[in-house]
Subunit: 360 residues, 2 copies
Amino acid sequence: MAYERDNIRQMQGYKSGEQPENADTVKLNTNENPWPPAPAVGEAIRHFDAGQLRRYPQPTADRFRRLAADLHQVHPENIIATRGGDELLRLVITTFVDPYQPIGMTEPTYSLYPVLAQIQDCPVVKVPLGDEWSLPDDFAHRMNKAGVKLSLLVNPHAPSGSLLGMEAIRKLARDIDSVLLIDEAYVDFVDPDVAYDSASLVEEFDNLIVLRTLSKGYSLAGLRFGYGIGAESLIRPMLEKTRDSYNLDAISQRIAEAALEHRDHAAWSWKQVRTERERLRSALTALGLTVPESQANFLLATVYKAGPSANDLYEYLKEHGVLVRYFDQPGLADKLRITVGTPEDNEQLITHLQRALAPG
Amino acid sequence: MAYERDNIRQMQGYKSGEQPENADTVKLNTNENPWPPAPAVGEAIRHFDAGQLRRYPQPTADRFRRLAADLHQVHPENIIATRGGDELLRLVITTFVDPYQPIGMTEPTYSLYPVLAQIQDCPVVKVPLGDEWSLPDDFAHRMNKAGVKLSLLVNPHAPSGSLLGMEAIRKLARDIDSVLLIDEAYVDFVDPDVAYDSASLVEEFDNLIVLRTLSKGYSLAGLRFGYGIGAESLIRPMLEKTRDSYNLDAISQRIAEAALEHRDHAAWSWKQVRTERERLRSALTALGLTVPESQANFLLATVYKAGPSANDLYEYLKEHGVLVRYFDQPGLADKLRITVGTPEDNEQLITHLQRALAPG
């Protein structure tokens, strides 16, 4: 007998990017930072006293929350620490959206969002993006009209890397009459000249939650540590009620603290990624692919119509030990999402692409 | 404006036991193992390569699942690894219980259960335990009659430490017509003579899930690692659909593997706890408290009616640096739950109790 709820039985789970066992694979498929985490992270691990693991961890990661609050110039009450951004996404749904109430998002977007909506048995309202991945001007209006309780926007956008500016976020927070989450998984790679700092808006709006993660910017995808920034009235019910009582273990708290305390190392990696991003974009463009500017650590490249298909290129690269991401979805089937790697990674990608695209 | 769902607004969050900052406190309030984890745990931490944290972890903790499957003589498909037992409890509710459908449990029980039910907006069906914390014979019948979709039983029972035997579990799994979760957070402390092994029942019943945790038995409360054992048809939807995509970080997977691989160390601690449990029980009884046998790593002591109240004793002990647990609840208000500590911890408890109970 099957005991699953109907909505669970009917849904498909989230498919994460391939994680090859082979360490030689050039892995440009899951937007991981190509540089290792700060040396202080290794120190924190080596000096961790295993004996303290017999006791429960500090339940709310308060030391981390203080560090994050200082970084964003908000109060610790404006911060919730979570197991990666994923836990925060689940918590906002659990806390603010009743089953059967709609959740709004763009199309395309981070493919986990509709999966989480289905788990809560919530319909999804999808607004297609316009040319060059622009958000339609009437997005807020459409969210309100559909009665959504939560809007999820990834910014910089995935999979395109385009960025909504501060004023656009401010306008959305003002115009949307329910909770708005801005998922800033890739924000650390934004060019500093853009002066983007949406966290500063949480004191202005009681419906805005900003999601941050250490996965990409701090080279800690394997750690599962993120946080949310928002008005205390939004943070408190997640912190005190809906969060698993001890959601963050003692070691990961210590590591996350070390990463934030040694942010200069992470900032160095962001700079490297930005430099490589431009170099890679030029090289891909020279090969005939169309590659818009990106503010994230990946590029979304449209393949040349007369040449091999995106799927063929994906397969060719995989055969030659280079993994990129291919989405068999409307609007994306002629594109490849390519994570910016080290100069050596990118060089290998380019070499293999040159061969694949060379006139036969 | 408050954006919380009504059920979240109305509920109280789970209150975890006090975690004093003072390392000198004799901490007998949260059922932590008084002995440190296996030396192999420290080794696993020291030898962990921080560089690998930049990549996502293995999503389903497959190596751990294989080790746990070997231990329980089931298949890896019968195992899901989770962040402590708490995540498994949340997942069974998310996966098998629609909002507004009832969840069954005993009274008293682990105080987290009703909190998790409220988060899913599920009513709770509570069946009071009988004399000496016995489960009423008609428990299964009452679950079925109330239409519960999930029954949660902690065994050994918390906060009493009493144990339902294998035959009772078998009968419950057979008679209850929905999912039955047996929460074995404390099972490692059961006397081996009892020959209790409910995991062996999961191949017999497609509605039985057994919860295990490394928190108590393996001295790893700070790690947040547990697992579920059940029929593949119960495990799969949680593993592939409702679980956060990367619920377990790379370091905790490595540590949990080391703990299971060096189970002999943990087993040594279980033996110590059992010996101390009996010694402590005798000493408390000699002081006039009523203390039933316990198969867990704690004792539930009823205070002497003519003496100080349980709450007064709790406060007295706390003032003197000894933390125990007091529940201000019907049926428990004249009792203290005392975790079995090291011989030195227990000695300090007894000394202070003697003074508190000495004729004034």
